[in-house]
Subunit: 113 residues, 2 copies
């Protein structure tokens, strides 16, 4: 049976940055989500998953393109999942990751005026 | 005479993340810029500067709202300036920071489909 980690919706917290001063708690939330994006390997993994057919990719297909060991890839995928950008389901031997719809747009909306 | 740090345009590098796999060099560039945003104090400073009248703020007016010492505030402002989000000009005793037009939108564009 497929299992999935719970998905945290990222940064639903915040009005656009330029519209009103960000409060302390919202800034903490948003920075936590931004940290998940602030890594080159994670950005590449996210773009590969997002561009995959069906917007889903097997972890087995992500190792070679980024040139990192599987435990490292799995570590980065976990951070992206915990930050709410990816969902994970296990089928047979492998874990499959999909982009959470709207997750990147929500961050984009905070950065736009 | 006012002096200004050179402005680096952030993340002009990258096509939208979901459109094509991000290359290694682009991912490094984008992660560097994201790191500047991945801090609660910097996000708050950016939102205060962006929301200030004339989209410019004196460093002297930024210390109290974020509750940090002036050297810490100046350190964060420098990181935001080096990442291309703020421009800095010195007039008399104080430095003034302004949002670089389009800098946040460029990041938003990379995150959007």
């Amino acid at each position: 049976m497929p299992t999935a980690l719970p998905v945290i919706q990222p940064a639903v917290c915040c009005a656009p940055l330029v519209r009103e001063p960000l409060g302390a708690a919202d800034a903490e939330d948003l920075a936590r989500v931004m940290k998940a994006l602030a890594d080159p390997a994670r950005l590449r993994l996210l773009s590969i998953v997002a561009g995959s057919e069906g917007e889903e990719a097997c972890v087995c297909d992500l190792i070679e393109p980024v040139g990192l060991a599987q435990p490292t890839v799995s570590h980065h995928l976990r951070i992206l999942t915990e930050a709410g950008f990816l969902s994970r389901s296990k089928r047979g031997t492998w874990a499959y990751y999909a982009l959470v719809p709207g997750s990147l747009e929500r961050i984009a909306d905070v950065l736009r005026p």
